[in-house]
Symmetry: C2
Subunit: 204 residues, 2 copies
């Protein structure tokens, strides 16, 4: 927030950019991701749709900017996906923790999480963030049944966020990242590629 108000992107532009983001945020929250159009956001902000495209590119990008995510999960997770499903559980978790454990980023991500955990924000996560941002990434890592496996992964990661960052439960809050990767990575891997139908999880 302070960066946006304290230094303009280009002369005269910051207000316009902020107006577009305000309009986008209101529309995503009220109508949801799918029903929001760049044209309508531009109209609410009183600017030309071409300007919105110029600033933000696609609707996905506008959505991420409206959420004020300090990082782009798609870029972060690209290398994890490139290496394929083997060991992806641990790599996903390690990448996730490297971002969340950064104090400056954590503060901003926590603000996002607190806002999506309230009634209105939930829709942004459900209709936007998970299907548009996280879903396509995870879909390239799951063995099958993406509609079941992705929510299972999401549920464990949400629980990790709540336990380690929102509530700061000991010892979860202070456990070294690699200890968590070793303990929770195999579970993420199981949800991604394990035999869910077998219904039994066993160490080798």
């Amino acid at each position: 927030m302070s960066t946006r108000t304290s230094r303009g992107r280009r002369p005269g532009a910051p207000d316009t950019r902020a107006q577009v983001l305000d309009a986008a945020r209101a529309s995503f929250a009220e109508k949801g991701f799918r029903a929001t159009t760049i044209r309508a956001v531009a109209s609410t902000a009183g600017v030309d749709p071409a300007l919105v495209h110029h600033y933000f590119g696609t609707k996905d990008n506008l959505f991420l900017a409206a959420l004020e995510m300090p990082v782009d999960p798609r870029e972060l997770l690209a290398p994890v996906v490139q290496m394929g499903p083997d060991g992806a559980g641990e790599r996903l978790l390690r990448t996730f923790l490297s971002v969340w454990d950064d104090p400056d980023i954590q503060v901003r991500l926590l603000a996002v999480v607190r806002s999506v955990l309230d009634e209105d924000g939930g829709q942004l996560l459900k209709e936007g963030f998970i299907p548009v941002v996280v879903g396509p990434v995870l879909a390239r890592l799951v063995a099958d049944e993406p509609d079941v496996r992705i929510p299972l992964v999401v549920s464990q990661v949400l629980g990790l966020i709540v336990a380690r960052y929102v509530l700061a439960l000991p010892p979860m809050a202070v456990m070294p990242a690699e200890d968590l990767v070793a303990r929770m990575g195999p579970v993420i891997q199981h949800y991604l590629t394990g035999d869910l139908a077998a219904g039994v999880v066993r160490p080798v």
Copy 2:
């Protein structure tokens, strides 16, 4: 809330009971579970400590009453614990879902969850609910390292609560309870008794 105000426990008593609960809630939220004493709560409420004991019994029970939990997790989980660690992951989850999937109870549990997810409430979960109520139950089911295993179980259950009930993520929100038990039960079991050090989770 409505039950408490619409029918008194005994003539003249409802106000006193509500005053004690208000004082308890304020103290648990402000000082935490450990630093709260029945004597201080009674003093704040302007009643005799013996009356607080009479109404609520122990500090643990006063805490649960202050959280306005519609069910007592200790009673619910007693049969799960009695049957021992084998299959406890699925039994825990089945019991958990049978309570949470009841619409009347769910509405009240969601109110509790939303209140603990905010800044003040987190302390109640961290210092009170988990160590006092859930911890001792799970401690009887874990193979070893309770300080690591219990938080891992808690993290997955918190994620399930957020995904299925708070955000109502599809298909998590509508998946039949037994499907969830089959998919997530083995993970809870792994956290309770699996070989965490092996770092690999495999179906049989």
